[in-house]
Subunit: 158 residues, 4 copies
Amino acid sequence: MTKTYLTPLSVDEQRDAGLPESWPFALRNMVEFSELDALNHVNNAAYLYWYENIRVRYFQHVALTKYQPDDPRIVIRRGEVDYLREMVQNEDYIVTLRTESYRNTSFTVYSEVWSSGVLRSTFRGVIVLLHPDGSGRMPLPAEFLTRIQTVDGAVKAG
Amino acid sequence: MTKTYLTPLSVDEQRDAGLPESWPFALRNMVEFSELDALNHVNNAAYLYWYENIRVRYFQHVALTKYQPDDPRIVIRRGEVDYLREMVQNEDYIVTLRTESYRNTSFTVYSEVWSSGVLRSTFRGVIVLLHPDGSGRMPLPAEFLTRIQTVDGAVKAG
Amino acid sequence: MTKTYLTPLSVDEQRDAGLPESWPFALRNMVEFSELDALNHVNNAAYLYWYENIRVRYFQHVALTKYQPDDPRIVIRRGEVDYLREMVQNEDYIVTLRTESYRNTSFTVYSEVWSSGVLRSTFRGVIVLLHPDGSGRMPLPAEFLTRIQTVDGAVKAG
Amino acid sequence: MTKTYLTPLSVDEQRDAGLPESWPFALRNMVEFSELDALNHVNNAAYLYWYENIRVRYFQHVALTKYQPDDPRIVIRRGEVDYLREMVQNEDYIVTLRTESYRNTSFTVYSEVWSSGVLRSTFRGVIVLLHPDGSGRMPLPAEFLTRIQTVDGAVKAG
């Protein structure tokens, strides 16, 4: 039994779904009734959960954390979200993510939401890494650096 | 590309997923970070969204409503939820639903949540049908009655 | 500056708010936009958060827990909610709670939601106490027992 | 009975609560258990609900809408949120809002969250006004313009 919603979409699946370019990490999902608000479209805050959910899956996918006590603490410091076209009940969508830039102890992720071949929303988030005990900032691990440089195409910021 | 999360699981898929019996309506999903609470397991209220989401999909699947202005209003009057075994981050689960009994203008749905072959939670909800303008109770449509009698095995209550 | 939303309502405040009887624990709040669903009334699952929030405040108020690692784990095993009359945007309401019965390691809380002198919803929840490490059931502490017997009027269950 | 949570805080109440400057619109609230995530602090998306809730109250307070079918449609096009210091269970906070700039058919609101005299988070949101039927952009009503110019100190953008 294929569990397509559990796994990053392949390059082929992304193209078939109408994404104009392929992403290193993309997941499929569907608008649920509970995400609609009184205006009958997806609530602005609900998108933040979509963006959080793919971040958390990505952080595990790239082995940055397993959400255990000894793992780095991953903290969001800033988020910017654009709402380009509303989403309504039962719509199918793809949410994507890549790390686009990094510094010593932080990095910026960029996400998009696509549905029916139309870009609906974008998100840019600044993420800071703290030591597991929360004591202070922690340098990005070497494997994570390699991953975001080679797979995500992330560039060193300023 | 199979969109397994969009469609009711087949009898074979349900058996492969470890359900001891097959259901007329079952969907697969996965615990997301945003559903966890400070105790690090799925929050008790989050299950209510799972049960609501499958109800809403089922109501459309059996053509009781398309959530348009001319459709019947579907109102929940009572819910009973049992929490049998906690669910944690990243767990895969199946949520099921069938209508188990009915009266002239109301019916009772029953749902279960299964994960790793273990029953985690159950829900029983009493649903009332109102006319589209909310003016009063509305008899169950004939096609819905036929469906719940023949497919769901629902019995007349009282 | 009075922080009425932080403190249990007094007997006088409850009577002025239209409650037909006074409760050992009652809080005031207001429906927020984010609690409405596409049907333009408070979503059925949102009430569960109201009932959870007052439980958590009550558990701290009666010193059952401070939500620290050495405190008992408080787990909900069953919830029954009745939806009697819908709630809409901006409505002011009172949510109440008392422990109505207990056994050695569990107890039952009962809550109501009142607005404009009309009962809107009720909730009954079965709560189980576990040892701080989650290892097994824990007897109700003596002070908690005294409190629920003398203030809440809780009775020993069958 | 004072319903402080229902009404904008006065200048005196804001000063007593530790706000360094007074705001045209400020509300008090408290962190609830349901807003915490598995990291035991307020979830990043939960702030978006706080910011939405005060916006919606403000829009009604300044009579921009009563959320009736004949009212303008108010749509968020962009949000920027900064997370400066985490918030934890039971913390009391003030959320503030003013309109800081405007164009013909849109305006920008700015909000802050304060707790224990410390700035915890900020939000800037771009809001667009549409005709009640959603057909296209609608100029800001004259009374709203006067209000944001004289009370909020909003300036015409570029």
